[in-house]
Amino acid sequence: MKAREIFERVAASAGHEAVFALDEAGEGAAVTVPDKPADKAKAGAGQGHADAGRDASFHARPADLMTVMGVLRDDPELRFDFLQNLTAVDWAKREVIQVVYHLFSYAHRHEICVRVDLPRAAPHVSSVVSLWPTANWHEREQFDLLGVVFEGHPDLRRLLMPDDWVGHPMRKDFQEPKTYRGMPTSRPSPLDLLVTYDRAHAPKPQVAPAAAAPAPAPPKAETPS
């Protein structure tokens, strides 16, 4: 099913104000590979096709997330039974944390991406664990690394970082603490500690005193003559 049909079906069931900003990019806009090597080099300049780099997606209003997700999973025409990926992006300049859900349907082999913008100061959103159990660990990881609070999550604890860690390391303004439980979190580079000798201006090698002092006269051998 095409992104527009999916979007309209969701809007019809969940309410037209619940979903917005449909982005159909990518669909129908196939990447064209030029034939001539010279054109290939040009195409490889990092600009390429304007639309090809995006997945079809739409935004959902945070308050309506559960309704939207419920429709996406349960509508027999949509049947998004696999939460393929759940991640969050910290848009610090916009003061937004965007939670991104990539859904896939094994039944219909189509996919869609749903975005939810949350205020960065208090990123709270409903947990989708009740719809897709796999979301459990995904949400724990995003809570751990970005501090997104998934309301209704059965077990919202840190996943990767230690339980007593302070802060959320994937936030753009995260400052790594100097120590953790008295252990330094960084160490000086051994290269900075490396002592280099300037050979040109190095002090002249000290003549060993033993060698400078006149050697004690050897016991006089009794030489003939």
């Binding site: 290939k40 490889g44 304007a50 997945d55």
Partner: protein
């Protein structure tokens, strides 16, 4: 390192397993609540191998991040290379020459063979059958030698590039690869006789830790674990990428699925057997790919991007040895990624261990972890 803690006044005993336990396939810790030999729940505690690879992605350029992707999954590094390369190519809409696609398929499949060697050999050894392990590792050595000759590394390959692959293959290498396939095919049958169909082994694994299709989909199992549960879905066939679309129809591809031959569908034996089947299919894919690559122009294996400053976001999916590995990458018009995220097969599988461990014997927990082919660095990244 295991220690026993008796919970006051209860019959429940808490057993610490890991993080340095030989059968946890890396550094994972389980807090196992048991009643005698029966597990009431096993709580996984992960993060011991967290190297913040996603954070490193924000600190280096798109091309410069490639060696780090090897460390996402060091048992099957080639597909991690592949998924990063495809994600960036999709993001920046970069063309990839056909020969590079074939070289990616060939290197991916060789790496899949070697990864399954570890998975199957180590699983048999975890359950007490020591002999198959060196047999499997012997074959893995041949693959490592081949890949070393192709890209210079035996484990962390850094072979794929944004826009192609790092080096072309030679005719001599192609002959060696074909010779390896001739050698490897009978070895699969030997391996079947040695362990897969071994009566003791079958009895040990049949009907153990059964994961049905519905549960597998709900918990997001991917790859061999999903197919063993009876869901016929393989990214290579169902959403073909690289040149799989040209290869698979030629070899009469049929996605292998678990059928409950020795017990229920989706038991530990099905997961073991399915990986053996994947060996067979990998060999067929490799033969076809090594044949078709001859038609592509020699030396055109990389279109290096210039001034890579993509904007937007893209998601790429690749069938890795542990299933659908996906990479989500966000660009903001600078040489570095703004955000990258790897979603791996082991991460999803690990989320299911707590549910599945209920009612298992302590010794079966090891079988469950091994049959899901969990590799710790993939969970923590």
């Amino acid at each position: 390192m295991s220690e026993l803690v008796l919970v006051n006044g209860e019959d429940e005993m808490i057993l610490n397993m890991g993080p340095q336990h030989p059968s946890t396939h890396g550094v994972i810790r389980f807090i196992v609540h048991t009643d005698g030999e029966v597990i009431s729940r096993a709580e996984p505690d992960v993060g011991y191998l967290h190297r913040a690879i996603e954070h490193i992605a924000e600190k280096c350029t798109y091309e410069g991040f490639m060696p780090y992707t090897d460390r996402v999954d060091y048992v099957c590094a080639m597909t991690a290379n592949h998924v990063w390369a495809s994600a960036v190519e999709k993001l920046a809409a970069l063309p990839v020459p056909p020969r590079a696609h074939y070289l990616r398929v060939i290197s991916d499949e060789l790496n899949r063979i070697s990864s399954h060697c570890i998975a199957l050999g180590a699983m048999a050894m975890d359950l007490g059958a020591v002999t198959p392990f060196p047999y499997a590792l012997r074959e893995r050595e041949y693959v490592n030698d081949l890949l070393e000759e192709l890209c210079g590394a035996r484990l962390t390959y850094n072979y794929h590039r944004v826009g192609g692959v790092g080096w072309d293959m030679t005719d001599a290498w192609r002959d060696k690869a074909l010779r390896f396939l001739d050698h490897f095919e009978p070895v699969i049958d030997e391996f079947d006789r040695l362990i897969t169909m071994n009566e003791i082994f079958v009895k040990r694994l049949a009907n153990l830790a059964v994961i049905g299709a519905e549960e597998a989909v709900a918990y997001g199992l991917v790859g061999p674990n999903l197919r063993a549960a009876g869901v016929a879905f393989d990214l290579r066939a169902d959403m073909p990428y690289a040149t799989y679309g040209d290869i698979l129809p030629k070899i009469g591809w049929q996605t292998p699925v678990g059928s409950g031959r020795m017990g229920q569908t989706g038991d530990a034996w099905d997961r073991f057997w399915l990986r053996v089947e994947e060996w067979r299919w990998s060999v067929k894919i490799l033969r076809e790919a090594l044949d078709q690559i001859q038609a592509t122009p020699r030396g055109e294996y990389l279109i290096a991007p210039k001034r890579l400053r993509p904007k937007g976001d893209a998601m790429a999916r690749v069938e890795a040895a542990r299933g659908d590995m996906s990479c989500y990458v966000v660009g903001d018009g600078t040489p570095n990624a703004y955000r990258a995220r790897f979603r791996t097969g082991s991460f999803n599988a690990m989320g299911l261990v707590r549910e599945k461990s209920r009612g298992l014997m302590v010794a079966d927990l090891v079988a469950l972890i091994a049959s899901l082919d969990i590799v710790a660095p993939e969970i923590d990244r």
